[in-house]
Amino acid sequence: MSEEKKKISPSLIISVIIIIVLLAALVYYATLPPKVEVVPTVVVTTVYTTAPRTEERKLEIFHWWTAGGEREAADAMFRALKSKYPDIILVENPVAGGGGVSHRVVLQARLSAGLPPDTWQTLGGAELKAYVDGGFLEPIDDLWEELKYADAIPKPLADMVTVGGHRYTVPLNIHIQNILYYNKKLFDELGLKPPTTIDELLAVAEAIKKAKPNMWPLALGTKEKWEAAFVLDSFILETGGPEYYVKLFKGLVDVKTDPTFRKALERLSELVPYVYPYHAGLTWDESCGLVVSGDAAMVLMGTWAIGYFQSRGWTPGKEFGALTFPQKPERILLGHTDSYGLAKGAPHPNTCKDWLRVVASADLQVPTDVTQGGMFARLDIDPMKFPDPIRQELQTYLRNNPGKLILDQHGSIAPYSFTQAYWDAIAAFFAEPKVDGTISTVASLFETYNVKAEAAWYHWGSV
């Protein structure tokens, strides 16, 4: 035994070497100067400008449309790309973990490591701005110029993806969030007219409660929190008007003393008794499910709910109706957009630009938006391409009034640090409607997260 111990086996030597190499690598990494991430960026950009033709026709793309319904929309996008550029090899979500939040986790890790994909899905507004601030997106003004994209889409939509005068992404849709869906058969049966103001909403809610004591007038699911803020958005819009809405989320309103914000919350607290009370356990689709199952009569949700209702066998205009809410003092569309940009240091920048050209085209937008539930970003697409009367009407309205579109707080005007915390506060309001407490919480959030400075990039109308 002692003989064996003295003899050093080859595997032992190899393991020692591996350990030494590992340690050396660690020491080397620790002694590297900071900001090494910048190095590959510079290298790749030069490669791209000097030798654009040597690039591989490959597109690495991150998106979160992986769930049922949205998956089909993603497939429609990629079919459009393949029919235009059959030679492009698509590498989709190359790291496991898709879907919304986990998508951002993986993407964040890739970006921090200096290994960006060519392009990724991002909302316009604050999320986009976070990527721009981080220096992860390349401005694509020349591409916009080439495509004349600024003339093709509503100006407020272009503003959602414009930071500091530069265009950063190509929007492919618009999601309108302030839409009230209602059970049409029930409204016909009770002889109710769909409400267009807060007063009418409260009156309709009262009438429904009286006629159907087992039914909740308004469905709601606040598990993901943002759903609660949607309802308040509509109330703020009617109470203060569109310019007030923008000012509020740009941090230009002193919430603590502001009478309009207080009034919106007070009116909202009048609605709370009519709202499905166990909202904390439901997600948005489950809350729409309450309308289908007859447990609730109405729900305030974005355009993406149309697809949900249809998947449950409801036909627009027959089983359910929809209208933007509120319609006074004017009919405003609150919305946000899905878009794709070009990564700084993208491995395949030219292929990526071809992809963005496809994203801007009607060939991609028509099949994708019809499937996914958004509105067309391009105004020159015939609204009648939508199969349902709801979006046909909305798209026509948008076409004739492109200036009525506003970036919503969801998408968002204020930075995400604020928005997340704001959602929590409003979701808590639905559980316990305390006006004073909510006002002081929201006021302190505006201050804590420095919204006034962080949201200064966004402009709408004269605000």
Partner: protein, 292 residues
């Protein structure tokens, strides 16, 4: 004792891996919490306590601390106490016939993922269509129905019940292993011959002799309760509002949703400090045993 190269390697390899993967990362998190990393791009500028100050100003942070303490007390206490009684009862002669069945029954939950149990329980807790309330109404016990996790006042306690259900079997197994020593068996038999009651045997003989097992169990449970994330994520996502939020969930939200990476790291540091405090009693016990 003479150490061979093989011995040293066996010691060195795991040590290095632990050091790199765990402790270097812990140190890194400490550093990030003092940096100015806000937004998507790393920013390693040292700004001291800037983000801690913001964190301490947030109401949500203090709600999280309160909730984590509720989890530590209400989640761990009942689980440990019931587990002690259950483990003891299962060792009694009269229950030997059912022991295997009961042990399997309470051990099954531990074999399931929190994602699965979370989904099952949110289905049972659902107030108007959920299993529990439906059964209660059907049995004419409507007055017993509850809003469960949708009521901000009680939601935390219903969540800890899931923890109790899932960890009970695991706790019983740990205690059973320390109950089944020969010298303890002999002592119990001697006490029984002397005519001591079962309760007396439990409190005067069994519990003092399995102190080590109990301490390990409580330390494990405390750490599991402290880092709880999945149950809350699945069942309430911190809601209603943020009334059931816990530090681990806020850490996730601050880092990846709010893009406040420094705050996320700071919350990680707070969890780390709380974990250190929790394992102190165990460490003292262990040191006394080894060196005392």
């Amino acid at each position: 004792m003479k150490l061979s190269i093989t011995d040293i390697l066996f010691f060195l390899v795991p040590t290095i891996f632990f050091t790199i993967i765990l402790y270097v990362m812990v140190g890194w998190t400490f550093y990030i919490s003092f940096s100015d990393w806000q937004g998507t791009a790393p920013n390693y500028n040292f700004v001291g306590l800037k983000w801690y100050q913001l964190m301490f100003k947030l109401d949500r942070f203090w709600v999280d601390i309160r909730n984590n303490i509720i989890w530590l007390l209400v989640g761990v206490g009942p689980t440990a106490i019931v587990a002690i009684f259950l483990a003891y009862i299962l060792e009694l002669k009269s229950t030997q016939r059912f022991e295997t069945y009961i042990r399997n029954l309470i051990l099954y939950p531990a074999a399931m993922s929190f994602l699965v149990t979370g989904t099952i329980w949110s289905w049972m807790y659902q107030p108007d269509k959920g299993v529990i309330n439906t059964i209660l109404k059907w049995a004419n016990l409507g007055f017993l129905t509850s809003n469960f996790v949708t009521d901000p006042a009680t939601a935390n306690y219903w969540l800890t019940l899931i923890f109790f259900w899932q960890y009970l079997g695991f706790s019983v197994i740990i205690l059973q292993s320390s109950l089944r020593t020969t010298y303890l068996k002999e002592m119990v038999e001697a006490a029984a011959v002397d005519g001591a009651s079962r309760m007396r045997i439990l409190f005067n003989i069994v519990i003092p002799n399995i102190r080590g097992g109990i301490l390990i169990l409580i330390s494990l449970l405390l750490i599991s309760a402290l880092k709880v994330f999945d149950i809350v994520y699945i069942v309430t996502f911190g809601g209603p509002g943020y009334s059931t939020d816990v530090l681990a969930l806020f850490m996730f939200i601050a880092t990846f949703q709010q893009h406040l990476v420094a705050v996320g790291a700071g919350l990680g540091v707070i969890i780390f400090i709380m974990a250190l405090i929790i394992v102190i009693p165990y460490t003292i016990y262990a040191f006394r045993r080894w060196f005392g």
